[in-house]
């Protein structure tokens, strides 16, 4: 079946059996710190901690982790480049000017801050994404009283994503073999047929699943019992201490 590298890491890392609460506390704590702190030093500390926890602690394959951190690169670079310039009347003290476009100390600093913040925040988010499967996160949301229907729909979605990715790969290969992507117009026609074939497959799969669940208690609320993963007190204590220390340090620095 279709696989996604981040998802594979999430199901197979050394922190897989840790409770979702622990991992969420650590990753989201680092994420909040990364986003709220203005200090580049704090950002760097978050980056180091997140990378260390992911690669050394959870043994996430470094290629996968790197791919996550670099995935938004094109957006971040384009966005930061845009923030680094000012357009209009030439401002005083421009470091660089080309026609109406200029770069100043201020714009450059903002761009640098945004870059640092995005990098640190992405590394923290990546820690959560590569150590915790979506299934576990949905279970966590259930505990947080997110409405049952919403979590049920999301759970089915997660399962179906992989089924449909398989369909996409197969349909696409079958179309390619029959020269469906040999020319531009053919490619567009093929993609349209691909989309509709996937939607149709989604629909029939859902109907068949409904019939399939009839004998298991029906497709009413999809209540299940997740694995028991007790919260580790030392892990939480270390995480809280670390987060508080980092916060204090960044407040003092500011």
């Amino acid at each position: 079946m279709a696989r996604l590298a981040i998802d594979d890491a999430a199901w197979g890392n050394r922190w897989r059996q840790r409770s979702t609460a622990e991992k969420a506390l650590l990753a989201l704590g680092l994420l909040v710190l990364a986003v709220t702190s203005r200090e580049v030093v704090t950002g760097a500390a978050v980056l180091v901690l997140a990378v260390g926890c992911a690669l050394v602690g959870a043994r996430v394959p470094w290629r996968t982790y790197l791919r996550v951190v670099l995935a938004p690169l094109s957006f971040v670079v384009l966005g930061a480049a845009s923030v680094a310039v000012t357009v209009g009347a030439r401002p005083d003290g421009a470091l660089l000017a080309l026609g109406p476009v200029a770069v100043t100390d201020g714009t450059l600093t903002t761009a640098g801050q945004v870059l640092a913040r995005a990098l640190a925040a992405t590394s923290a988010m990546a820690l959560l994404a590569t150590t915790t499967p979506v299934s576990d996160l949905l279970t966590g949301m259930r505990r947080l009283r997110v409405p049952e229907v919403v979590v049920d729909v999301a759970e089915v979605m997660y399962r179906f994503v992989f089924l449909l990715l398989d369909t996409v790969a197969t349909v696409r290969e079958a179309q390619t073999a029959r020269l469906g992507y040999a020319t531009g117009p053919a490619a567009r026609r093929s993609l349209g047929m691909l989309g509709s074939a996937v939607l149709r497959q989604a629909w029939t799969r859902a109907q068949r699943l409904d019939a399939g669940l009839a004998g298991r208690g029906g497709s009413g609320p999809l209540r299940t019992l997740p694995a028991l993963r007790p919260v580790s007190v030392p892990f939480v204590a270390v995480t809280c201490t670390g987060l508080v220390a980092l916060t204090a340090a960044s407040v003092v620095l500011a």
Partner: protein
């Protein structure tokens, strides 16, 4: 038609699960099953044979309570099932159906959670749910993949997860639709080994298939679906009836075909199931 009413022997005991005069079909369509009767006895391996589209699956769905017959009864221990929520619920605890395509029954990406769905619906306490999930997974030889995602498993493993989901309900009867279809020989062996473990712990296993060689090597009794009716009898009686198999679009098991061509009769009590058995007979 002559087969329909013949039985191995007039049995005094009431079958564990039976269909009696069942007519069934889908909304707006004709009958798929037309006055069908079958009897499933405790501990008897029944193979339900028929071509694709013959109505095997519909019959299994009737027996499991998932499909309501137009007329006729499904009987458990001789008592007719009524299609109301209470009795249906009780029925599902005793009779579980596993469909051919595992992706039609697995809704959760988490193996353990998916298997827990049935027991949780039964309202069992968490401890017992966990115990049932663990024992179902180990019975199916899946303990080592309990923490993997469903989409990371092979087709054969997913098929066994679907069976585990049914087994966790601890049913008395397990109805399996094409449990070995699409599996390679190793997958088939793993599935059959798991089913044998379940039988030893007291579950009665029924499978629908169009693989006559599998039925020949596995079953005690065979029920063939042909022209919307069912012909049930002991293994050898049905699977040596070439006219019936031909009409049902089924092959003849190779030992039967071979022995026939050699002019030998097949022993009803001790059918030669494997190449070794046949060789012993001929050697």
């Amino acid at each position: 038609m002559t087969h329909r009413l013949s039985r191995r022997e007039p049995s005094a005991s009431v079958p564990l699960l039976a269909a009696e005069g069942v007519h069934a079909g889908y909304p707006g369509g004709p009958d798929v099953l037309d006055c069908v009767s079958v009897e499933l006895r405790r501990g008897t391996r029944v193979a339900l044979l028929g071509a694709n589209g013959s109505g095997k699956t519909t019959l299994l769905r009737c027996l499991s309570g998932a499909h309501r017959p137009r007329t006729g009864d499904v009987l458990v221990d001789g008592v007719a099932l009524t299609h109301r929520s209470g009795p249906l619920r009780a029925h599902r605890q005793r009779v579980q159906l596993v469909l051919q395509d595992p992706d039609d029954q697995l809704f959760s990406a988490d193996v353990r959670q998916d298997v827990s769905f049935g027991p949780v619906n039964l309202g069992l306490p968490d401890d017992e749910v966990r115990e049932r999930v663990a024992s179902a997974l180990s019975a199916l030889g899946l303990a080592h993949v309990a923490d993997r995602a469903v989409h990371q498993l092979s087709y054969g493993q997913r098929k066994r997860v679907a069976v585990a989901g049914a087994v966790a309900m601890q049913p008395e009867v397990l109805l399996l639709d094409e449990p070995t279809a699409g599996l390679d020989p190793r997958g088939v062996a793993a599935m059959l080994a798991a089913l044998e473990r379940l039988e030893r712990s007291g579950t009665t296993v029924v499978m629908a298939t169009h693989d006559v060689d599998l039925a020949w090597s596995w079953a005690d009794e065979v029920a063939v679906v042909l022209d919307r009716v069912v012909h049930q009898d002991v293994l050898v009686k049905v699977l040596t009836d070439e006219a019936l198999l031909e009409a049902a679009g089924l092959a003849v098991p190779w030992p039967v075909a071979l022995l026939r061509r050699l002019g030998r009769e097949v022993d009803v009590a001790f059918p030669p199931r494997t190449a070794t058995d046949v060789a012993a007979l001929l050697g």
